[in-house]
Amino acid sequence: MTTSTEAISISALSKSFGSAKALDGLDLTVAAGEVHGFLGPNGSGKTTTIRVLLGLLRPDAGQVRMLGGDPWRDAVALHRRLAYVPGDVTLWPGITGGEVIDLLGRMRGGLDRRRRDELLERFDLDPRKKARTYSKGNRQKVALVAGLASDAELLLLDEPTSGLDPLMESVFQQCIQEAKLQGRTVLLSSHILAEVEALCDRVSIVRLGRTVESGTLAELRHLTRTSISVETAEPLRGLETLPGVHDMVVEDRHARFDVDTAQLDAVLRLLVPLGVRSLTSTPPTLEELFLRHYGAGPAAGEQVAS
């Protein structure tokens, strides 16, 4: 185990392919032992970041440290301590899934046989089939079993569930929970928000090769709005004048509105004296968080980043 509490620390990372800028000053910090969600739309630079971490790509600028080493210089030594699952798994057509799992495990320095067999069972994967006959989902399972059966302290997962059905998705989530209990660090790139919400301690959101948001889910929620539906004994008055209240619909004693999560306290103080009969509050989903950055056009992202 690394002595540092940061499993990954990236600052101001840039990488271009010819004239195309894939990463443009990206920052990312992953603490040891946490499950970190790495979110962003297609083409935002998630895969490129992971390839830099794997020492496959050489950064143009910026600092990158992983498990206390330099991913480019110390690649081989670091790789023995991590497992990688790509988003689009291609395998050797004439080799069976079981053989691939063993091969990748041995190349990494050994794998736990019992765990391997148990994972094969849980993911319902037939290891005797030649890779050319596997569907996308099954190829993904091969890479997942190979990665999870290792005792790597760091898991780099690049959209690892893109081909899985919902049943397997839940098996995957259990496996990540277990990995977390074992104290492993996980960097999970994804665009499946439910998965990230279920698994991650902290998330970083990237866009156009740059980090636009980073923090715990609670912190990020704080930046967004909570939806409130309330019924009071007294007629509702004065709410619309409060800062941070939006999209208010009032019908006498009944109101529906959104409130900036930071202003929630002030709103409740105003409501309580009116005699609250019923109240439902819906916390913002990651989806809304996400849409706020990507749905609202370029301006929204820049605003938060500054």
């Binding site: 496959l56 063993d102 041995r106 990494r108 030649k130 890479a143």
Partner: protein, 525 residues
């Protein structure tokens, strides 16, 4: 059948790069053979001498065809080249049908197409139409090449038609194999086996009574005797067989599920053997089938060349014109001949080596390299895996060639000493082969994108220098780039150590420089 026409157009577009090469290859074979034969046997007397020499030489008949073809110069061309053109056309038809039927189902792409408004039989129908059109095109081109080089028009039409019908037969065969087998390789393997059997059966038939040749699609074509009797009726055999085969394929396809074959593929290993533990084990595992095929093929080629080495001397005495093509002239005829065959074998070994080492690039662009390099595998080990197969495989191929040639030649002259002698000769050609592989590695390190083109251009250039350097009278500077031009033509001349050491050293430098480049660059694009 709905959608067949649209699919056919789509297939033609996908084949627009590959198909022309097949057509060109078949055409060139006929073009070159026809020109060369008409130059060599330009008089009835020359042809008569050839008939006498070949008539007593079983090996030549086994390699080529029935001697009745030697009645005319056009027939001589068919005698020498038909079997090879037939093999090219058969392989073309096999890949066209296989790629667009079984391979499409295996990769799952066909599922997409079927979900569109396309009938169940449409992909098979379109693929067969594609192979049919391609065969027709080959037929027309063969006719044009033969008639264009001055051979009689009537015989040329028959020559073209006979070639085209070979394509039809093998298209039908592949259509059946694609229904029977679940994976493309097994389908190709079974068709390849039939093709090999077709060649062997006609060889046995042509050497013997001729009866066995009638079981061979290649034999059917040869026994139309273009320019030597022009017999059309044997073409009924391939035509009837293709109709029967296509009918069978359609019937079989109705009896199977999508994606499945009539013979399910065997399950493989659940666990890796202990050999599959690192990049070396992986590379050898991936390439072993291919490697074995090449080594056996080169060994057999050695046997074929070795078997006729003894009669060469006799042959040359009868045809002094041929001596011009041999580096040592009429003197030392057998050794000159052996040196020439080693030159060819070395080119084939170099082509194998280039294909083997280019797997490095294939692994990279497919994304598989990324998974291997994300483990404890260093870039040196990753490169070393495939490179070791290329270097050792090309060496094994050359040694197998020397062994085969030595054994066959030794048997005909009752001299077991030829085996170690010719195996030893093989080593002289190895440094040049390795240098070509090393140049590809250099490119993989510093300019990966053009590495495939560069590798094949290098092999092609060396082939032109070796095969045509003398007949085209290439100037010295134009030949100097080929390492084979600096390789002593053993066993005709004694092996000189200096050029061999220099070539080896150059190869080592290129390998080291290539690795240095690979260490510095991004992987995976």
């Amino acid at each position: 059948m709905t959608g067949t026409w649209g699919l056919l157009r789509f297939m033609l577009r996908r084949e627009r790069i590959g198909l022309p090469w097949w057509l060109l290859g078949a055409t060139l074979l006929v073009l070159v053979q026809s020109t060369q034969s008409q130059n060599l046997y330009d008089s009835p007397e020359a042809l008569e001498r050839l008939r006498r020499t070949v008539g007593g030489n079983t090996a030549v008949i086994a390699m080529s065809g029935p001697t009745r073809l030697l009645d005319s110069i056009g027939g001589e061309v068919v005698f020498e080249i038909f079997a090879f053109v037939a093999i090219v056309v058969a392989l073309m038809a096999m890949f066209l049908v296989g790629r667009h039927t079984r391979a499409e189902e295996e990769t799952g792409r066909a599922e997409l197409i079927r979900s569109a408004r396309v009938g169940r039989q449409a992909p098979l129908a379109a693929a067969l139409a594609l192979a049919g059109l391609a065969s027709l095109a080959v037929g027309i081109l063969v006719f044009a090449a033969a008639a264009g080089t001055g051979l009689p028009v009537g015989g040329s039409i028959l020559f073209g038609a006979a070639t085209a019908t070979v394509g039809l037969t093998f298209a039908g065969l592949t259509a059946v194999a694609s229904q029977v087998f679940e994976n493309t390789r097994a389908a190709y393997g079974s068709v390849g086996l039939v093709l090999g059997a077709a060649y062997v059966l006609r060889a046995a038939g042509d050497v013997g009574s001729g009866a066995l040749s009638w079981f061979s699609p290649i034999g059917w074509g040869q026994r139309t005797f273009p320019y030597a009797g022009d017999r059309w009726w044997p073409l009924l055999l391939p035509l009837v067989s293709s109709v029967l085969l296509v009918t069978a394929a359609v019937a079989l396809s109705r009896r199977r599920d999508f994606g499945a074959g009539l013979v399910p593929s065997r399950p493989g290993r659940a666990r890796a053997t202990r050999w599959l533990r690192d990049a070396y084990g992986l590379a050898w595992r991936l390439q072993r089938g291919n490697l074995a095929g090449w080594v056996v093929a080169l060994g057999l080629l050695g046997v074929a060349y070795g078997a006729i080495a003894d009669t060469i001397e006799q042959y040359i005495r009868d045809n002094p014109e041929i001596a011009e093509f041999l580096p040592g002239g009429a003197a030392d005829v057998v050794d000159a001949y052996l040196a020439l065959t080693f030159g060819m074998a070395a080119l084939i070994a170099a082509a194998y080596g280039v294909a083997a080492v280019l797997r490095v690039r294939g692994e990279e662009t497919s994304g598989r390299a990324e998974q291997v390099l994300a483990t404890g595998t260093s870039r040196l080990t990753w490169l070393g895996g495939q490179l070791s197969v290329a270097l050792a495989g090309s060496a094994l191929g050359l040694l197998a060639f020397g062994l085969g040639e030595g054994a066959a030649y030794g048997a005909t002259v009752s001299d077991a000493g030829q085996v170690p002698r010719l195996v030893g000769v093989a080593f002289a050609y190895l440094p040049a082969v390795w240098l070509i592989i090393a140049v590809v590695v250099l490119s993989l390190g510093w300019a990966p994108r053009p590495s495939a083109v560069l590798g094949w251009v290098a092999v092609g250039y060396c082939a032109v220098v070796t095969l045509f350097g003398d007949s085209f009278d290439l100037p010295g500077w134009a030949r100097r780039g080929s390492p084979f031009a600096h390789t002593p033509q053993v066993p005709l001349v004694d092996p000189a150590l200096t050029p061999l050491l220099v070539i080896t050293a150059l190869a080592a430098v290129a390998l080291a420089a290539g690795y240095a480049g690979l260490r510095r660059r991004d992987v995976g694009y």
